[in-house]
């Protein structure tokens, strides 16, 4: 790195890498000016705040069975009570932490897996590339939810199993995208010069290639988060979670097992469902905005602005 090669600083012109060398301040401004990005960021910040300080918001111990069962919403129980007399609102608030935690952990791990697979395939080429590409394609075609259910059925229900099965099944789509991005920069001068300098492959991948893909990695993370929020809740809804762990998916399962909708206690089921939808939408809004910021062709066309090519 000490050798200051001017060729090592080409501005990336690929659609997804366009903002790579843009100053962070300009990037932040682009985020602030994008209404979808602002909406998504606000949703996530509120969720993070709730997850960090549930005690400030929730009035009750979420597990305490202190009240009459199946109460309708009122001022003392904003969303009513469960079949065994727990406060639904407090459960909803306290469930935020574990739900968010699982989403973040799986998304980070799966992003790393997809990065390793995608970049290694592109950089190594030849047989390694072919094998990794086939493995990626196989995981893309295998139906996700059936595979998730099958894997989860063999493991003890709980957060750890949830994280493991989601990591196994979720990385393929992002790996393919990262591979094609890495392929597109494979023969850039700065990589050739690194190879000529005799750098080790691991160094080249981590120090030379990965930093050029930060925006795509961020997009992968957001895409994965959308995926994880939905599938984690679906798995738990189908009864493959541990119903004593407070998460929105397990709340849904408990509500569904108690036939909350039919029993005239709709908010027990609808509130965690809405929370899952809101969290997913928050990540999706940010992801959509990232796409627009990175790829001008997808931006909404505005007449007064002439500088972006439509």
């Amino acid at each position: 790195m000490a050798v200051g090669l001017p060729a090592a600083e080409p501005v990336l012109t690929d659609a997804t890498g366009a903002e790579e060398r843009v100053a962070p301040r300009r990037f932040l401004r682009a985020v602030r000016r994008n209404r979808k990005a602002v909406a998504g960021a606000v949703i996530l910040l509120v969720m993070v705040f709730i997850a960090a300080f549930p005690g400030l918001i929730a009035p009750d111990d979420p597990q305490a069975t202190a009240y009459a069962p199946n109460l309708l919403p009122s001022w003392s129980h904003l969303l009513g009570t469960t079949q065994i007399g727990q406060d639904v609102f407090s459960q909803l608030i306290y469930s935020t932490r574990l739900t968010l935690w699982v989403t973040l952990v799986v998304s980070v791990i799966a992003t790393i897996i997809s990065m390793i697979v995608g970049v290694t395939a592109a950089y190594a080429g030849g047989m390694t590339d072919r094998v990794l590409t086939v493995v990626t394609d196989v995981f893309l075609i295998l139906p996700v939810l059936p595979l998730l259910i099958l894997l989860a059925a063999y493991l003890p229900p709980g957060v750890t199993s949830l994280v493991i099965v989601l990591c196994i099944t979720s990385w393929a789509f992002q790996a393919r995208q990262l591979r094609s991005q890495a392929l597109s920069i494979r023969n850039r001068d700065f990589l050739i010069s690194a190879r000529v300098r005799g750098e080790r492959p691991l160094y080249i991948i981590l120090v030379e290639i990965v930093p050029t893909m930060t925006s795509l990695l961020a997009a992968s993370f957001l895409g994965l988060a959308v995926f994880v929020v939905g599938f984690a809740a679906s798995l738990q809804f189908l009864g493959l979670g541990n119903s004593s762990e407070l998460m929105w998916g397990t709340m849904l399962y408990n509500a569904q097992q108690a036939a909350a909708l039919e029993a005239g206690n709709p908010w027990w089921a609808l509130a965690p469902g809405a929370a899952v939808a809101l969290l997913g939408a928050g990540f999706a809004l940010l992801n959509y905005a990232f796409d627009e910021i990175g790829n001008p062709a997808l931006r909404p066309v505005r007449r007064r602005r002439g500088r972006t090519a439509a």
């Binding site: 075609i141 295998l142 059936p146 595979l147 959308v226 569904q256 909708l261 899952v276």
Partner: protein, 323 residues
């Protein structure tokens, strides 16, 4: 032809991978779930039990390798094992299949049609009112979990308004026949689950079709067609959309796995007795042979659809035949 050969190879590799996953999972997972489950199987004939023991690696006195080949042989000759009740897995699956075909088939075709048309229209009028609202809106909707859509629809239309039944495939007491009354009853029961799937999947097609269209519209032949003075509608459908839809076709097949997954959740929510509900009951009963059989069946369904989409693409797009 190299394109088709490559895709055919992917078909075989994926099928082999699926079969191997089914064989490997029971052996590498911690605990002895499989032997506990097989221990509860009663009244299963010895030959079928032997096949299951080989598949799950329980009480086998032979090497893993010879078990593996015997297992692959069983699968290739159509012996997919039996459920905990001793019923052949495939019999169980084919008896529930029609209901899922109805639900998933109808909702997928509707969602694909709506999504593609809206995608074409919104990309054609870039910056128009439709383009400003619909694609992001539908994209967000498509990220909302299908069970939430289903819960809302049940609450509003089945419980509050009582326009539609809460669940099941037809009314209790109705005898299946081809009478108009029975068909109406079936459609009424299928309506809410099908609409849930349409709402969740249509957005995906809008999004991908719009993006394909935007790339295609920038092509020279579309500009040429416009410059020749052809009618807008003609350029839009015959020049741009026809070419933009091809990648969507493969995407359509690839997404089938996603739709089938959504159908599992929806069939559970609506107690709709198709494959998804079967999968759910197999899960609660820990009927591993049935679950593995269903996973194999789902994979085969997706693979066949992908292959058909590839064939259509190869016929319609000469570029893929040369590449």
């Amino acid at each position: 032809m190299r394109f088709l050969a490559r895709r055919g190879a992917l078909f075989l590799v994926t099928l082999w991978a699926e079969l191997t996953i089914n064989f490997v999972i029971p052996r590498v997972m911690p605990g002895n779930e499989a032997s506990a489950v097989l221990g509860t199987f009663r009244g299963v004939n010895p030959a079928a039990l032997h096949a299951l023991q080989i598949e799950f690696g329980v009480n086998t006195h032979q090497s893993v390798l010879s078990s593996y080949f015997e297992y692959l042989g069983n699968m290739l000759t159509g012996q997919f094992g039996v459920t905990s009740q001793g019923v052949p897995v495939m019999t169980e699956i084919t008896s529930k299949l029609p209901w899922t075909l109805l639900l998933v088939g109808v909702s997928t075709v509707i969602a694909f049609a709506i999504g593609t048309l809206v995608g074409i229209a919104s990309a054609w009028r870039r910056g128009g009112r439709l383009d400003g609202i619909l694609p992001p809106y539908l994209f967000i909707v498509s990220t909302i979990p299908v069970f939430f859509v289903g819960l809302l629809l049940i609450y509003v239309f089945a419980i509050k308004l009582t326009w539609f039944p809460l669940g099941s495939n037809y009314s209790i007491g109705a005898t299946p026949s081809l009478s108009l009354a029975f068909i109406g009853d079936v459609l009424k029961h299928a309506f809410l689950p099908a609409i849930s799937l349409v709402i969740v999947t249509a957005g995906l097609w809008v999004y991908s079709m719009r993006n394909n269209m935007i790339t295609t519209i920038a092509e020279d032949y579309v500009k040429t067609a416009k410059a020749k003075g052809l009618a807008d509608r003609r350029v839009m459908y015959d020049y741009a959309a026809r070419n933009a839809i091809l990648p969507n076709l493969t995407g359509f097949a690839m997404q089938l796995g996603y739709v089938l997954g959504g159908a599992i959740v929806i069939e559970y929510l609506f107690s709709y007795p198709g494959l998804g509900y079967l999968f759910y009951t197999a899960t609660t009963n820990h009927d591993l042979p049935l679950m593995q059989g269903l996973f194999l069946f789902y994979t085969l369904a997706v693979l066949v659809c992908v292959l058909v989409a590839d064939l259509i693409t190869a016929v319609l797009d000469p570029r893929t035949r040369e590449a």
